[in-house]
Symmetry: C2
Subunit: 196 residues, 2 copies
């Protein structure tokens, strides 16, 4: 069992994701980190449950990748604040430079349901796509908000880059889903059973 150049080697990607958010600077509480994660990570990674954020922070703390302190300044309610440590930064950089990149994993319910279109009336599939389009709209608006907040500040250049990638992706999805929906309308098959 060979050890390679780090003792952390195999934290789950979500740990690196959260650690990565902390690398942007400010000390955060678990609660704040969760907000951040929802509005950023959530779009192209995963929005971890509140409880998991705390679990991760505890682990990162135990490993020395973050530092924490009790923040009980007057006029603020007491909370534990976490900050990335030097070891944490080093480990993040190691991860970024040394570990091979994985291919994205997509769980796409709309695609799965479209695949099974032969089982239901074409209207069911069309409505499903319409529902997806509405959700895309909402998400796009939320992401646009995020992107706007990032502004043109060089500090947030990369997050902005990612946000725009996401916006373009949502646009692509909307275009494609709409096209498919209209193709469904065209080639409406005969009314009889058409399963199997």
């Amino acid at each position: 069992m060979p050890r390679e150049s780090s003792e952390f080697q195999d934290l789950p990607p979500t740990s690196y994701a959260l650690l990565g958010l902390l690398s942007f600077g400010p000390e955060l509480t678990g609660y704040e980190l969760k907000q951040w994660a929802d509005s950023t990570l959530g779009f192209y990674w995963v929005a971890p449950a509140m409880s998991q954020v705390y679990t991760e922070l505890t682990r990162l703390d135990r490993l020395g990748l973050v530092e924490s302190r009790e923040d009980s300044r007057a006029g603020r309610r007491p909370a534990r604040r976490y900050k990335i440590s030097t070891a944490g930064l080093t480990e993040l950089r190691r991860w970024l430079t040394e570990t091979p990149i994985e291919f994205p994993v997509l769980k796409h319910p709309a695609a799965l349901r479209l695949l099974l279109g032969h089982l239901v009336d074409v209207d069911v599939t069309r409505q499903m796509l319409d529902g997806y389009l509405r959700q895309l709209d909402e998400r796009r608006a939320a992401l646009q908000q995020v992107r706007d907040n990032l502004g043109a500040d060089a500090q947030y250049r990369f997050p902005a880059e990612v946000a725009e990638w996401g916006l373009a992706y949502y646009d692509f999805e909307a275009r494609t889903a709409a096209e498919i929906a209209s193709r469904l309308a065209d080639a409406d098959p005969p009314t009889a059973d058409h399963e199997q």
Copy 2:
């Protein structure tokens, strides 16, 4: 605890995905189902582990959503073959028509790593994107293969539709990642530390 119009209500989506594959007709062994899942589902859902395929099949069988029989015809090695049952078809249709569609979940390592570009030399990020582009190429070729095999047969209209959606998506990703990579080259920041 109100029961709604089915006793199956909440199977995990992966169960429906596998059940859905079985809805295309032929009796399959667990092994064959896994092949199918890898080459189809894998692109926009998830490629379940072999062991999970068997676990799912056992569960679906217990619930009566599939039927199985020992296939020991001469000249073939013995295997258990699974076939969707009437109850299974009904439940699939119920799921498709009644349950609300979820928004896709994306785990996109390339986006996550791009987000953290401030931590490493720009070349690390550029190489990461190049690696992603190469993987996209491979995947695209494999998916193209799948799509070609589906042909123009009306029976596989929906799978073909999904496959083309996937191809278009890969093209979009390749275009976008390449653009970002070239933008990175342009705005190469000064050589000094630029973290935090």
